[in-house]
């Protein structure tokens, strides 16, 4: 494969070029209620060429090898056009060329598991909620996805690494009269098929939750003191803070850059956040990013001070900061962009009981229902929660969407638990989907957030 890629690359006239080829194999099985709605195993492939010429960096993706020549010409022309018009010519931070082949260690390779076994596993999990009369339906799927990546660059890099992601995820929909409730359920990871085996308890717990939520009361709009559980706090860390540590997202916003300067005190003294794709046995694990840079654990916040940022080679050069190996593509259809790998709040010392006692009165908000940001403002949904009175969880609440200001909220994180938990499935949609986007957190207490109940 590398010989074919090098042949294509040798035809490019440019200051720098790289070419990524990916073979993508995927198994998907899905149930809608008791009906099997999808079972398919496919393999497909494609190329992404990047060309740097006279300070312009252009990308083209193509799927037919016979289109390579046309793709090369198009990318060369686009790079020249950008080079002519761009204000600050693109430079790539220097990195050592790497030759390596890396296969992740998997506890049972899903590619070796017969499709019938995957189907049976999914059917078994799907039956757990469907046994309940108040569960109206489910939409639960199994997927395993392998990106077998080959990367060559004009600087001499030659890297092969495959990324294998396995998951069982979906929704359980409960119903009582006109009222329906939707609960998300998920397990998975990047360390093998074993991750999704023997996970009955996940589906049992989420089934019970879907039934209990029919009895929960909608939360009243207002401002509350809250404890966020790990998944919700992980979502906040990813959505509200993490995205602004992505150098490409803020580089052309003078006001965001001014606020996100290294050395700025943004959080409370107890807040430490890092992004570490190299951490073992977590969803976002990878060794090399999609421009051949080794991933590095990157401290983003230390004692409330912004100390680092996520970079591609281009942005590292533009900012004069170290490369971090965070330039990642969804697959062969996309140019790499800067992504979080595994972002998390580092654990503190308090147990969950300690946090509840400290909160005394407020809300305990649990699990995420999506999130979005627009600069300093963020919105994300919580699956459910509880009123906390006198340090004890009381009645259950639902229909919770949280809105806030990033900078204000970072300064209101007043206590951090000792129970770090990392997400097992991801779906960050920054223009491309990243199903390996991992985030996590311990329980944290926030002194006030706005909740838009009904």
């Amino acid at each position: 494969m590398f010989d074919q890629l090098k042949r294509i690359l040798s035809q490019v006239k440019a200051d720098y070029a790289d070419l990524r080829y990916e073979l993508r194999t995927e198994t998907q099985i899905a149930y809608d209620g008791r009906e099997l709605s999808l079972m398919t195993a496919d393999s497909t492939d494609g190329y992404v060429l990047r060309v740097l010429q006279s300070g312009g960096l252009a990308t083209i993706s193509f799927t037919k090898a016979s289109d390579a020549e046309k793709a090369i010409r198009t990318a060369e022309e686009n790079a020249a056009l950008i080079g002519k018009r761009i204000k600050a010519p693109v430079q790539l931070a220097k990195v050592e060329p790497i030759k390596d082949t890396y296969h992740p260690k998997l506890d049972i390779d899903p590619r070796q598991v017969p499709i019938d076994e995957k189907l049976e596993l999914l059917r078994h999990y799907n039956e757990i909620p469907l046994q309940q009369s108040k569960v109206a339906t489910t939409a639960i799927g199994y997927s395993d996805l392998t990106r077998d990546r080959y990367f060559v660059s004009s600087e001499g890099s030659q890297i092969r690494e495959d990324l294998v992601t396995t998951r069982v995820s979906g929704t359980i929909i409960s119903q009582d009269g006109a009222l329906t409730q939707t609960v998300r359920t998920a397990c998975g990871g990047s360390d093998g098929f074993a991750r999704v085996k023997n996970r009955e308890s996940e589906f049992e717990e989420k089934t019970a939750l879907a039934l209990n939520m029919l009895k929960a009361t909608p939360v009243k709009a207002g401002s509350y003191r809250v404890i966020l559980n790990q998944r919700l706090s992980g979502t906040f860390t990813h959505e509200a803070f993490g995205h602004f540590c992505e150098a490409d997202l803020i580089e052309d916003s003078p006001t965001m850059r001014a606020k996100m300067q290294l050395g700025a005190k943004l959080g409370t003294d107890i807040l430490n956040i890092k992004d570490d794709p190299t951490r073992l046995n977590q969803l976002g694990r990878y060794k090399y990013d999609d421009e051949g840079v080794p991933a590095r654990s990157t401290q983003l916040m230390k004692d409330g001070v912004l100390v680092g940022r996520l970079h591609s080679r281009r942005t590292a050069a533009a900012y004069g900061e170290p490369v971090s190996g965070h330039n990642v593509a969804e697959d062969f259809r996309f140019a790499p962009i800067i992504r979080m790998g595994c972002i998390f709040i580092e654990p503190g010392r308090l147990s969950f009981d300690d946090l509840c006692a400290k909160l005394a009165d407020g809300l305990y908000l649990v699990d995420k229902m999506g999130g979005q940001t627009a600069g300093e403002n963020f919105t994300f949904g919580a699956q459910y929660g509880y009123h906390v009175k006198g340090g004890k969880l009381t009645e259950m609440i639902r229909d919770i969407n949280i809105s806030g200001n990033l900078y204000a909220t970072l300064k209101k994180i007043s206590a951090i638990g000792n129970d770090l938990l990392l997400a097992e499935v991801g779906s960050c949609g920054k223009g491309q989907l990243n199903v390996r986007s991992c985030n996590g957190s311990p329980h944290v207490m926030v002194d006030s957030v706005v909740i838009g109940g009904v």
Binding site: L38, T40, L81, D252, Q372, V450
Partner: protein
């Protein structure tokens, strides 16, 4: 594709082959400078094989190994996905004007020049960060099935988007323009972005409560999303839609007529057949607020015993067809945009919506962050609110329509006018 059909037919009762070839160039300007030109040349084929009422599927990005594609579909067939519906035999279709050959002559340099012009024109007036994008797409679809259907279509699309971004955020005032060929970004859109940006620059801190809320064409999708789920035959079949027993009933305000118009070729993407080869037709969903129809693909049409509506669409060749509304529009009302603002005693314009995908969509509930929210007092824009949310249930909110704008604008999820509602909860 004919070779693939011949191979696949040997092992199946019915066969469908769907292909897409797409070519795109997109240009992005951020803060006045050319940032990126990204191109794609993508091809894909999807195969569906039916045998004894079961379905097998497979896809590939090239057609080098047809036998392997068929083998993958046969493995899939073993799963036993039920599919006892018929494939359509589609012959003569109306001619639509969905492709403008002028798109082929447009150079990337012209797109860069247009972005530079728009960016400079807005920035000169707002002194803000301005982001501009341009995109050109050509798409060819072909669908063959074993009933003798062989239909194809070509599409062209050109679009520009421009936004003026408020300091310290990504909340912005934006406009999108789309067409089948290159057209200059109109002056009125530049005026709108610049004038609205100025009016909303100052931060306002009104009290929350129930008030007028004006959804823009660009943010109405947050509500429409719920209606799309409610009228989706899949959710009706699964009895999870709140509208499952409401056909013929008054569900929304009588001011609201919402239709799917695939045959309207004034706008890009008009279709005469869906991604399963079923002929497309214009479909009223809500006529003066009365629920008129659900929409379906072949699979859910069969399950519900309703004729397919021509709404089976795929995301791309790697995904299966599902019921989808791709040509949705709300019929315009009789008020200009300025008149709508003038009618607001105290209220919020939803300038950008965050978190529309969260919350209990099937139940119709929404709770969205405003990015930005624009505060209006006595018919005049008084400033911008931060950290605010609007929330409610779409089936209640959409009964409280005050007035509808007299034009529609192509936006995410469809072509919409601005719609003014009353009595919506705003948390600030």
């Amino acid at each position: 594709m004919e070779q693939l059909m011949a191979i696949a037919r040997k092992s199946a009762d019915k066969v469908e082959i769907y292909s897409r070839a797409v070519s795109t160039d997109s240009v992005s300007f951020e803060n006045g400078t050319l940032k990126d030109i990204d191109s794609k040349l993508l091809f894909g084929v999807s195969l569906r094989m039916f045998k004894a009422g079961k379905l097998g599927t497979a896809y590939t990005q090239n057609l080098i190994d047809r036998e392997e594609l068929v083998r993958n579909a046969l493995v899939s067939l073993k799963g036993g996905v039920e599919a006892d519906y018929d494939l359509p035999k589609t012959g003569q279709l109306p001619k639509l004007d969905a492709y403008d050959s002028a798109i082929g002559k447009l150079t990337n340099t012209q797109m860069v020049d247009e972005c530079a012009r728009i960016s400079a024109a807005i920035a000169a007036r707002t002194k803000s960060q301005v982001n501009v994008g341009a995109g050109r797409t050509t798409l060819t679809i072909r669908l063959l099935n074993s009933e003798g259907t062989d239909v194809s279509a070509e599409f062209s699309n050109y679009g520009n988007c421009a936004e003026a971004i408020f300091p310290g955020s990504y909340a912005s005032i934006a406009q999108n323009q789309v067409g089948k060929k290159f057209e200059a970004f109109p002056d009125w859109m530049i005026d709108y972005v610049a004038n609205t940006y100025h009016a909303a620059l100052k931060e306002a801190k009104p009290a929350g409560g129930r008030m007028n809320v004006l959804f823009l064409p660009a943010t109405l999708y947050a509500l429409i999303w719920r209606l799309k789920e409610g009228t989706n035959a899949k959710n009706v079949y699964e009895k999870t839609s709140r509208l499952k027993d409401q056909l013929g009933k008054q569900v929304l305000s009588e001011k609201l007529t919402i239709v799917n118009e695939p045959l309207n070729d004034q706008v890009p993407g008009a279709r005469t057949f869906d991604d399963e080869g079923t002929p497309c037709r214009n479909l009223p969903l809500f006529q003066a607020g009365v629920l008129k129809s659900f929409y379906c693909d072949l699979c859910y049409g069969r399950k519900l015993g309703m004729p397919p509506t021509g709404n089976g669409f795929r995301g791309d060749t790697t995904s299966k067809p599902v019921p989808a509304l791709q040509h949705l529009t709300i019929q315009p009302g009789d008020k200009s945009f300025a008149e709508l603002i003038g009618m607001m005693k105290r209220g919020i314009i939803v300038g950008g919506a965050m978190g529309a995908h969260s919350g209990n969509i099937l139940n119709g509930e929404y709770s969205i962050g405003l990015a930005p929210g624009i505060y209006v007092e006595n018919g005049v824009i008084a400033g911008r609110v931060k950290d605010a949310m609007v929330a409610g249930n779409v089936y209640e909110t959409m009964q409280n329509v005050v007035a509808i704008e007299d034009t529609v604008c192509s936006s995410y999820m469809g072509r919409f006018p601005a719609v003014l509602f009353d009595d919506v909860s705003v948390a600030i």
